[in-house]
């Protein structure tokens, strides 16, 4: 995973709450391999006027071209565990999502893909969504080490889980981190087989 320290780019203001993963990428687009790219399907039905709704058409406005940051309202990424929702955001070019709260699974998926789920107070999100510099398409700065967002003259602090912050700053790979614990895992497994003999499936022989 590529380390994330800071970024400077336009930020897209998405004034929606409860943006669920079915909106982030509708299920019908999830049958393709990742190599084909998912960015074109991001918020597809809210960008393309599905059912007459274009509330996410802001993503395609020229002033936000090249945006690597998305600002949204509460409960962003709620719903299903589909990591394709994060693939769609990442393939579109986003590396940071700013919102007051995130779906738990979505936030975890974001970090695994090098995206920063930056949690800010509701009132700060409202200020960012109305920030003149941000709305003009001027770059905002996301500083992960300092945990601040700078938009024009505005400075907003954000929260992120301490473990996730370390992973993102260092670009750590989960599987490599875990392999370094192989001795502890083996010791745990040996003990667990004795303490919970019933936990293994009783009948798992090939048919």
């Amino acid at each position: 995973m590529k380390p994330f320290t800071s970024l400077s780019s336009p930020a897209v203001p998405l004034s929606l709450a409860n943006v669920d993963t079915d909106q982030l990428i509708p299920a019908r687009f999830m049958k393709r391999p990742r190599s084909e790219g998912y960015g074109g399907f991001l918020l597809h039905d809210l960008r393309r006027g599905g059912a007459g709704d274009t509330s996410a058409a802001v993503l395609d406005e020229p002033r936000f071209a090249g945006a690597a940051c998305l600002v949204a309202r509460r409960n962003f990424g709620c719903g299903s565990s589909r990591e394709a929702a994060v693939y769609a955001l990442a393939d579109f070019g986003f590396r940071c999502i700013v919102a007051p709260s995130f779906g738990d699974i979505f936030a975890s998926n974001a970090v695994k893909n090098g995206l920063v789920p930056a949690r800010v107070a509701e009132e700060d999100v409202e200020r960012l969504l109305q920030n003149e510099s941000l709305l003009a398409g001027h770059p905002v700065v996301i500083d992960l080490a300092e945990q601040v967002i700078r938009a024009g003259n505005e400075v907003v602090a954000f929260d992120i889980d301490i473990g996730w912050k370390a992973r993102l700053l260092n670009g750590w790979d989960d599987i490599e981190l875990t392999r370094a614990k192989c001795r502890e895992i083996d010791a745990f497994r040996a003990r667990d087989l004795i303490e919970r003999p019933w936990a293994a499936p009783s009948n798992n022989r090939p048919d």
């Binding site: 079915d22 299920a27 393709r32 409960n75 299903s80 565990s81 709260s101 893909n113 895992i185």
Partner: protein, 472 residues
């Protein structure tokens, strides 16, 4: 070493599975069961790129459910992408020596229905699956949660997962539920009160006399919908109902080992003085048959009420969100819920497709005719066989509904079963998000009996009026 002091059920399972110390930001947990469906191809591609192997294939189980068609499975016209995904699961499980309940298997079904049936879900286990409704297995006192593809790859490669310990929430439902009130109504009532993000960052333990009185099927429905309230997972302490349900199932402990396991499982309760970060109490008598009217599971109301009026809502953001939901759903403020006409019905999904659910729907449909089309997809091949032995299939078909095979079906618009744009579906599923059942679809979620009542009247209806005892 287990920490001193009183512990919740959540703490007890966590402590039993923690490999790394308690002082770290995240804990490395051992995973007892890893469940895979066709969407796991991303994860298998990730481990292939690393030239990694599956660490514990004997603790890993594959099942085809999300993309599988519920009808014409052998058709040469089957979407080649869907056919390809099913084949990929076959290939990946075969290559890594993983047992799969594939399309031709008599045990195939929706993962959260078929896996418990086989006795693979047990109290005290940590279980994961690349599906948010993995919380269903919490009904057995398992610590079960959904994960994304990268975490699926991690579990495949290591049989462990890094997790931050969630906060603990207890939801007590006390007293008796009224006639026709189900676990689905408990879930929708709860979500309407706490909001779609009300349990964010929490693991939920459901407790209280109304929860104890639920069957295992009802408990699975309730735990299934924990995610709709924002919870990481939901679980219920195991009891005699749990043990009786599990005994004799194919993969459960057998004989003396089962008796020994039950002794261990009896300790899987929260200590009486254990502290929760948040407690919520609901009286069972307050809960009525409930339906959703909008585009989030929190948009739910008892069937006797009316659609909200955004002009009467003081909070501007909330009023705007209600306005947007009503516009998408094609509803007028203040109209009675029972005036909402529907175009079709769906009975199925990991939330409500078990035998008890089908019986409840059939009880309403028996001797009546649906006036809208509908599809019934039993939760597993086993449920389908049992329903057919009981004659439920004949009741559904006589009512005019189609009786199909098992899969995620119309819950999620990815397998061919969809609701057309602008059409309104009364559904036993778990999410009424915009377009969830197909682009432009409008979903109202409710219990199986409520869906059956809507089918025979053509509009949202209080099923209590259609119960056999109501006509006496």
């Amino acid at each position: 070493m287990k920490p001193a002091g009183p512990r919740t059920l959540i703490d007890k399972i966590w402590d039993t599975h923690a490999i790394t110390g308690h002082d770290e930001a995240e804990t490395l947990l051992w995973v007892d069961r890893h469940l895979l469906h066709e969407g796991s191809f991303h994860a298998f591609n990730q481990i292939a790129a690393r030239e990694a192997t599956v660490a514990h294939p004997e603790l890993t189980f594959g099942i085809a459910d999300h993309y599988v068609p519920t009808r014409d499975r052998e058709s040469p016209d089957l979407d080649p992408q869907i056919r390809g995904m099913i084949r990929q699961l076959d290939d990946n499980t075969q290559r890594h020596g993983i047992r799969q309940f594939g399309l031709g298997d008599a045990r195939q079904g929706i993962v959260h229905v078929a896996i418990p049936e086989q006795g693979l879900t047990l109290p005290g286990l940590v279980m994961v699956c690349g599906d948010s409704h993995t919380s269903t297995h919490g009904a057995f006192g398992a610590y079960a949660f959904g994960i994304g593809a990268s975490e699926v790859a991690h579990v495949l490669a290591t049989q462990t997962i890094w997790q931050k310990k969630p906060r603990r929430m207890r939801i007590r439902v006390d007293g008796e539920l009224g006639p026709g009130v189900t676990a689905k109504d408990i879930a929708l009532t709860l979500i309407s009160r706490i909001g779609a993000d009300g349990a964010q960052g929490h693991a939920i333990e459901y407790a209280g006399s109304a929860i104890r009185a639920l069957s295992m099927e009802g408990r699975m429905t309730l735990c299934n919908m924990s995610i709709e309230g924002g919870g990481r997972l939901g679980l219920i302490a195991p009891d005699e109902t749990t043990f009786a349900w599990l005994e004799g199932r194919p993969f459960a402990p057998q004989g003396a080992q089962f008796a020994a396991a039950v002794e261990d499982w009896r300790g899987l309760v929260s200590d009486s003085d254990a502290a929760f970060d948040r407690e919520i109490v609901i009286a069972g008598a307050e809960i009525a048959p409930t339906v959703t009217w909008g585009t989030s599971p929190e948009h739910a109301l008892p069937i006797g009420e009316a659609v909200p009026d955004p002009d009467a809502i003081a909070d501007a953001d909330r009023a705007a969100s209600v306005r947007e939901a009503l516009a998408y759903m094609g509803l007028q403020p203040k109209m009675k819920l029972t005036e909402i006409r529907i175009d079709q019905v769906f009975i199925g999904s990991c939330t409500n497709s078990r035998i008890e659910d089908l019986r409840a729907a059939a009880r309403i449909l028996d001797g009546r005719r649906a006036i809208v089309p509908g599809l019934v997809s039993p939760g597993s091949a086993n449920v389908k066989r049992q329903a057919e032995q009981e004659g439920l299939d004949r009741i559904f078909q006589a009512a005019g509904l189609s009786w199909e095979d098992s899969g995620c079906s119309m819950c999620v618009g990815m397998n061919g079963d969809i609701v057309p744009p602008g059409h309104r579906c009364a559904s036993t599923t778990n999410r009424n998000f915009r377009g969830r059942q197909g682009p432009g679809s409008r979903t109202h979620i409710m219990s199986p009996a409520m869906v059956a009542a809507a089918a025979v009247t053509g509009h949202l209806t209080d099923m209590r009026a259609l119960l056999p005892e109501a006509s006496r």
